[in-house]
């Protein structure tokens, strides 16, 4: 009790309706039943979860929360989180329709995450890895200083331990609300990878839906091997920006994983159910 009370509340209370709207936004997975946004079928929720958040009817790869993903893809009980204590600040005093400060407070409270990335160490099929995944539900997985720092530390850990690095990216890109600092995370993470190359261990980048902007244009595309989940949207500019620029509709399948494979931009498309085995195989082949 005493320790509970002595904890100074660091963040102001969140209105319940704010939390609810946030919780429901990303997954539409509340309640017993869920609707697949691809085939529109109503499916028993437990069915979907058992199937790694892939629609059992149409194979659509739904959002798979970072912690569930890491737990499922790493050898049982091996994941140890690092850098959980890193918390975002508001270096520009940024305000749009809401103050960034408030946006952070609400999001952190609702998701019980400090920012949009979870990183740590663990094993995949017996291979030690420094690993991390984006929390896409946290402001679209946008990269501000905390995400950049965590990704940088992920590569620094891999360098120190001389182990492989695996990153699961799902992000709209750099976080506008942290302005120029978000942009600089691209340089920071890329420089950390340059150093990591010296230990000659593999970096496997797994691109999820969606991977765009400053995340695509930095560490996500620097993988020694790049895998993509089926039909993920992957690219530099978002489709809307491109359509506005060229003033025409984009063709179907543009910037999807299959399009990128065809254009030589990723190594392989791996369905979620095969991901763990493929990662294990690659780690074995590359050392």
């Amino acid at each position: 009790m005493a320790t509970w009370f002595s904890k100074k509340p660091r963040i102001a209370p969140v209105k319940p309706e704010e939390v609810d709207s946030l919780r429901q936004q990303p997954s539409r997975m509340q309640g017993l039943w869920a609707k697949c946004e691809e085939c529109n079928e109503i499916i028993y929720r437990a069915e979907i979860e058992k199937n790694l958040n892939v629609c059992p009817l149409c194979g659509h790869h739904m959002l798979w929360p970072a912690r569930a993903r890491l737990q499922a893809l790493l050898d049982e009980g091996t994941f140890e989180e690092s850098d959980r204590e890193l918390e975002p600040t508001d270096p520009l005093g940024f305000t749009d329709s809401k103050r960034y400060r408030d946006r952070l407070r609400v999001t952190r409270r609702a998701l019980d995450e400090n920012d949009a990335f979870v990183g740590g160490i663990g094993h995949i099929e017996g291979h030690p890895v420094s690993v991390g995944a984006f929390v896409f539900e946290f402001m679209g997985g946008s990269m501000g200083s905390v995400v950049g720092e965590k990704v940088t530390r992920l590569f620094e850990r891999a360098t120190e331990r001389r182990c492989a690095a695996v990153v699961f990216s799902a992000s709209g890109g750099a976080r506008m609300q942290e302005g120029i600092f978000s942009l600089m995370q691209m340089a920071k993470t890329a420089a950390a990878i340059a150093r990591f190359r010296e230990v000659k261990k593999p970096y496997i980048s797994v691109m999820l839906h969606p991977t765009t902007g400053g995340v695509a244009a930095s560490f996500a595309w620097l993988g020694d091997v790049i895998l993509a989940e089926p039909k993920a949207l992957i690219g530099f500019a978002g489709p809307r920006v491109i359509e506005q620029t060229i003033r025409q509709k984009l063709p179907d399948g543009f910037q999807r994983s299959e399009f990128l494979l065809e254009h030589g931009m990723v190594d392989a498309i791996v369905p979620r159910k095969d991901l763990r085995a493929k990662l294990g195989a690659l780690l074995g082949l590359m050392g």
Binding site: L86, P88, E149, M176, I180, F181, F236
Partner: protein, 322 residues
């Protein structure tokens, strides 16, 4: 000085006054007398007006100046500061992208590698230069030239001036994001001094892709931002007309970035902006550029890589909670 043919709204009163002064001068036909007192008075007024306008520019006004169509571009600085420029073309795998220009040159006799975004002065030029928005082949050419410089031990000097990397179908097909990502990594391990100067617009990843430097300098009326104020406003306020507000929120001017310790030095511009006196703007750039290059030339390859690593490693504030 001839009055520029293009004027931003807030420049107009000054330019009109200057035109009046020029008219009076030509009326007096160079002979001293009749109008000289009047001219003197107006000149004093013009100076006062100029300092009034330019001493307290809003971020949006700075943004407009950074894009001023008469602002000196990369190739103007090449001409004003360097000798023996030898342009090199092509990425050796797809094409030549004229929105990034690069090549060997000499600064005070010392061979260097120059790279810069290049905008066009008119529609025809902009068709060729793509408004200074590079495609992947531009970034891959830049990478090739930086690696050349590294191999031959020549410093790399880059001039940043782009609205951003081009968002188009072909650019996506050929890996725009990959091209930028690779440049960030390659630049971070160059064993030669790298100095970047933001001379106009520093548009997001498309700017950073040639700006992972030991020293990053900014001209006084230039901007550097993760997103353009227009795009930011359309995403956050769902309204492209709130760019002014977005510019304030983004804190994107040279002064802001110096305060945020993201850039190393601000290069002062001539009164009224670089476009009013490109030669003096180039002189100021040259002075600051030489100073930083001199300091970096004293360092060996590994020290330069370490210096660059530390610089970017330290960027991005966060706190440690419990």
């Amino acid at each position: 000085m001839a009055a520029p043919s293009f004027a931003l709204d807030f420049e107009r009163p000054l330019l009109e006054l200057e035109r009046k002064i020029d008219e009076l001068k030509s009326l007096s036909g160079g002979a001293p007398g009749d109008f000289s007192a009047e001219i003197q008075k107006l000149e004093k007024k013009a100076r006062r007006l100029q300092s009034e306008i330019f001493s307290d520019l809003s971020r949006w006004q700075v943004t407009q100046l950074s894009r001023h169509p008469q602002r000196p571009y990369f190739l103007d600085y090449v001409q004003l500061l360097f000798t023996d420029f030898f342009e090199l073309a092509g990425d050796r795998s797809y094409g030549e992208d004229p929105s990034i220009v690069g090549g060997w040159a000499r600064l005070d006799g010392r061979p260097v590698m120059l790279l810069g975004h290049q905008k066009g002065r008119n529609t025809k030029e902009n068709m060729v230069r793509n408004f200074g928005m590079p495609r992947p082949e531009g970034y891959r050419k830049a990478r090739r030239l930086m690696e050349l410089a590294d191999r031959f031990g020549r410093p790399v000097l880059t001039f940043v001036d782009t609205p951003g990397a081009y968002p188009g179908i072909g650019a996506e097909e050929r890996g725009q994001a990959e091209a930028i990502a690779v440049n960030l990594e390659v630049m971070s391990r160059l064993h030669v001094p790298v100095v970047s100067v933001v001379i106009g617009e520093g548009g997001s990843g498309g700017a950073l892709a040639i700006a992972v430097a030991n020293r990053v300098l900014m001209l006084e009326n230039s901007i550097y931002s993760v997103i353009s104020p227009e795009s930011c406003s359309s995403i956050l306020y769902r309204d492209t007309t709130k760019a002014e507000k977005a510019a304030d929120a983004l804190k994107l001017t040279a002064r802001d970035l110096l305060e945020l310790e993201v850039v190393d030095e601000l290069v002062p511009e001539p009164d009224g902006g670089a476009h009013r006196d490109p030669a003096r703007a180039a002189e100021a750039v040259g002075r600051v550029l030489r100073k930083h290059l001199q300091a970096l030339l004293a360092m060996d390859g590994p020290a330069l890589v370490e210096d660059r690593y530390r610089k970017f490693r330290a960027m991005g504030p966060f706190t440690l909670g419990g």
